[in-house]
């Protein structure tokens, strides 16, 4: 039984009739809205075949779009690895017994979580050249993504470690493990297993955020769709729609992976900590941050 069906009864004959009428009414309204939108775009000639035909040609994909996709994926991959390392280091540092580790780590994490990612990317560009470094767009985007998503991941890791029952660490100490052994061998593996869905969920956010590279002219997928392809074929709207479809397919696939991981870890017994749904960490405080 789906959850929604709790809100209304199984329909009787009269309700079924009324529902059918309402379905018809709302169906017509939705079709009408779709028709008006379609018409508006048609007036500007946006459905003309010549705007869409480039996407049927292999060259458009291999020469213009796929290089952008490759840049998006490589920025996302490098940033994901760095953010995971950053998150693990700072997540553990925030739980340190020493105040001089714990407090600075907390300040760093909270600071970068509160700053818009775009500001970090601009800062990387300008601050880097002030320091005499050559900062490519790629470096600036990866730097921003690492700091921002790394800070969010640090919170996820911290929540995951705190979610492991106390007995696990105590048992570790009881058999004579050191602090770093308890963390490395007992707490972290179980925390990561429990937090896997939330971590994958954050990586989806990271992948989506690579699109901010567009603002600093990084040659990513959005740049291909909103600058490169339209510059060749004068088809901004068709091109952005096609690119959006590519993003949606990739992100839906990652989303299903997160759900699958959550189900698997709920079934399995590899962690004593309760698994956490994607996007829900730290007691719902961080739920669904886009």
């Amino acid at each position: 039984m789906t959850r929604a069906s709790v809100l209304y009864d199984a329909p009787g004959p009269r309700t079924r009739l009324r529902n059918n009428v309402l379905t018809l009414v709302f169906g017509v309204v939705l079709l009408l809205v779709a028709y008006v939108v379609w018409n508006k775009f048609d007036e500007k000639g946006q459905w003309a075949g010549k705007l869409w035909r480039p996407f049927l040609e292999a060259d458009t994909w291999t020469e213009l779009i796929l290089p952008g996709l490759r840049n998006t994926l490589s920025a996302a991959a490098v940033a994901a690895v760095l953010a995971l390392v950053f998150g693990a280091v700072f997540g553990i540092a925030r739980l340190s017994d020493h105040w001089w580790v714990r407090i600075p780590a907390g300040v760093v994490v909270e600071f970068f979580r509160a700053i818009p990612l775009l500001m970090l990317i601009f800062f990387a560009q300008y601050g880097g050249s002030l320091a005499g470094l050559i900062v490519t767009e790629f470096t600036a985007v990866v730097f921003g993504l690492m700091l921002y998503n790394g800070s969010v991941l640090a919170e996820i890791v911290r929540a995951g470690i705190l979610a492991v029952p106390r007995g696990q660490a105590e048992a570790g100490y009881a058999v004579g493990l050191r602090k770093n052994q308890v963390m490395r061998l007992i707490l972290l593996p179980q925390a990561v297993t429990a937090m896997m869905p939330a971590i994958v969920g954050q990586l989806v956010v990271l992948l989506k955020d690579t699109a901010l590279g567009f603002v600093v002219a990084y040659a990513d997928l959005l740049n291909a769709g909103a600058r490169v392809v339209p510059a060749n074929f004068f088809n901004l709207i068709p091109s952005v729609i096609v690119i959006a479809a590519v993003y949606i397919v990739i992100n839906l696939a990652l989303g299903y992976l997160a759900t699958w991981l959550e189900r698997r870890s709920r079934r399995g017994r590899r962690s004593a900590a309760a698994p956490v749904a994607p996007g829900v960490a730290a007691g719902g405080e961080m739920a669904a941050v886009p």
Partner: protein, 223 residues
């Protein structure tokens, strides 16, 4: 440091625009997100389907793409205008459309998770005294659902505040774009300017977080 003091009016102006973007698109996405949530739990498959498609499309599209589509697609190609001659007014409203369209998908999902926290007995009791589906939702389920998700809605509002910077992609002179312009103008004062804007965002987001945390505890449904 002098740069921050000298340019204070510019910085405040930029943050005023950030606040306006946040408030306007926050209100629109709250309303539209509630409508979407109602659609997604309604007994009519056609509404459920439409809501699901909308949410899945908007949630999985980068915000930058949504805003670029609004700014360049709707604004430049489709010639959607909000003012006869002022381009900045156009861009403000176009980016508001983008931000609201995107954020409302998340508001919908948060509200839906809130509806899931309302015990089954509440809806059953509402039905057993003869309330219709809209009445059940409006009078019994949604008020409790909203109270359960005050904290996540606060996180969304904070995320929206930060997300307004993406409007820089279509040239809205909010905080991030102003910061970049100031970087260009005062090449040697990059770190003070960055910290100034960072403090600005802390000032905007920290009280919101505290307020919503307090509100969440205050209105929590005792069960």
């Amino acid at each position: 440091m002098e740069a921050v003091v000298d340019e204070l009016p510019v910085i405040l102006q930029a943050f005023w625009l950030t606040v306006k973007l946040t408030v306007v698109s926050g209100v629109i996405s709250l309303v539209w997100g509630t409508v979407l949530a109602a659609m997604r739990v309604s007994p009519l498959p056609v509404l459920r389907g439409a809501g699901t498609v909308y949410v899945n499309i908007l949630r999985n599209t980068p915000l930058t793409l949504v805003i670029v589509f609004c700014g360049l697609g709707l604004g430049t190609v489709m010639d959607v205008q909000f003012s006869a001659d002022d381009l900045s007014v156009d861009n403000f409203w176009l980016s508001t459309i983008g931000l609201s369209a995107y954020t409302s998908a998340f508001v919908c999902e948060v509200l839906r998770s809130g509806i899931n926290t309302v015990p089954i007995g509440q809806a059953e009791a509402a039905r057993s005294i003869g309330l219709t589906f809209p009445q059940t939702l409006r009078l019994v389920v949604l008020p409790q659902a909203v109270r359960a998700v005050v904290a996540p809605l606060g996180s969304l509002l904070i995320a929206l505040t930060k997300n307004t910077t993406v409007a820089a992609a279509i040239g809205v002179a909010e905080a991030a774009l102003r910061m970049k312009n100031l970087f260009d103008a005062h090449g040697s004062d990059i770190i003070p300017i960055f910290l100034g804007f960072a403090v600005g965002f802390l000032v905007l987001t920290l009280p919101v977080g505290l307020l919503f945390g307090w509100l969440a505890r205050r209105v929590a449904v005792a069960r």
